[in-house]
């Protein structure tokens, strides 16, 4: 299975850090988007295995993009990314169908573990379990 990734974040430094870590771990970054609108367009074009999606962005926020991506492909694996203290928006994302989440700032190990669960048979994300309980 080709490990393909679409990175969505308005912050260039975050996109760069995710790209560096994911590439080192054998993922192929098929696209980078700065906002939700670009994210949906690139998702349709590239059909990545995973999307990392920032939730708070200035244009077309992450929740709207999540809705649109899941409308295109209800099986899409979207890992949402939020900052500390944004529990409510994270819960909304999970209710909409986000596959997992990361809290900024995250380290490389956390990112890679989260991505790898989708290509590792039988792996269950501890973060997802936390969120399932919260919701």
């Amino acid at each position: 299975m080709m490990k393909t990734l679409l990175i969505v974040d308005d912050a260039a430094i975050v996109r760069t850090k995710i790209k560096e870590a994911a590439t080192e771990a054998g993922w192929v970054v098929v696209g980078e988007a700065k906002n939700g609108k670009e994210a949906v367009e690139l998702f349709v074009q590239k059909k990545p295995l995973i999307v990392t999606l920032d939730l708070v962005m200035p244009e077309c926020d992450g929740l709207q993009a999540l809705r649109e991506i899941l409308a295109v492909d209800p099986e899409a694996k979207v890992v949402v990314i939020s900052a500390l203290g944004q529990k409510d928006i994270l819960k909304d994302a999970f209710k909409l169908g986000a596959a997992d989440f990361l809290i900024k700032p995250f380290d490389r190990r956390m990112l890679i573990n989260t991505l790898e669960q989708f290509v590792t048979e039988g792996y269950q994300s501890p973060t997802r379990a936390v969120l399932e309980q919260a919701v």
């Binding site: 912050a11 760069t16 200035p58 500390l84 203290g85 529990k87 409510d88 700032p105 380290d107």
Partner: protein, 204 residues
């Protein structure tokens, strides 16, 4: 009116909130940089809005401000302010690129804005826990230019929130590099009132 509100017990509580927030911010900075960052809250003082320019001596020096406002009914704003060299050192630390870059490129600007975002979220979380209400920071707005201009732009409109500013001077140490910044907190009246009422959170 706000000045009197914050001067009393609420300011002592704010000091304790910010000291706690600094620990959360330090932990966040360690994850963000993958390194042994130490943050120290060197000084915290409350100033009338009109005195902030005199207290922060950045008049002709190039500077960067990252401004975030709290969305929702409590209001308030946080401004992170870097002098030229401190901003360059922080950007270099985060990007791994040269300290002596001539122009701020998107990656360097983004590094400072994102640092402002994570520090603001750490402080917002500590404040939210103190007042037991959610505080969601907006996306960061970055302003660059000469210090006086940057400060003026960052503070523009803040007098609608409050006439007092809490100014924190913070030191950041990372592998022998020392970086300083100012964090300005402008609490709106509803947030001030809640901080005064939040005694239970500070009783231990």
């Amino acid at each position: 009116m706000h000045y009197q509100h914050v001067r009393n017990d609420a300011f002592a509580r704010l000091e304790r909130v910010f000291t706690g927030a600094n620990l959360v911010a330090e932990s966040a900075m360690r994850r963000w940089t993958h390194g042994p960052v130490q943050l120290q809250l060197e000084d915290i003082q409350e100033l009338p809005l009109a005195d902030v320019h005199a207290a922060i001596d950045l008049s002709d020096e190039p500077a960067t401000a990252v401004t975030l406002s709290f969305q929702g009914d409590l209001g308030g704003a946080l401004i992170l302010l870097f002098g030229k060299e401190d901003g360059q050192r922080l950007a270099a630390m985060l990007t791994g690129r040269s300290l002596k870059f001539a122009h701020w490129e998107e990656l360097e600007k983004s590094a400072l804005a994102e640092t402002g975002n994570l520090l603001a979220c750490a402080y917002a979380q500590a404040l939210a826990e103190a007042v037991e209400r959610p505080l969601l920071p907006s996306t960061p707005l970055l302003v660059q230019g000469c210090g006086a201009y940057v400060l003026q732009e960052a503070l523009k409109g803040q007098n609608f929130l409050s006439d007092v500013v809490v100014v924190c001077r913070t030191g950041c140490r990372y592998e022998g590099t020392q970086i300083h910044w100012w964090l300005l907190f402008i609490p709106a009246e509803p947030l001030c009132a809640l901080l005064e009422e939040a005694e239970a959170c500070f009783s231990t």
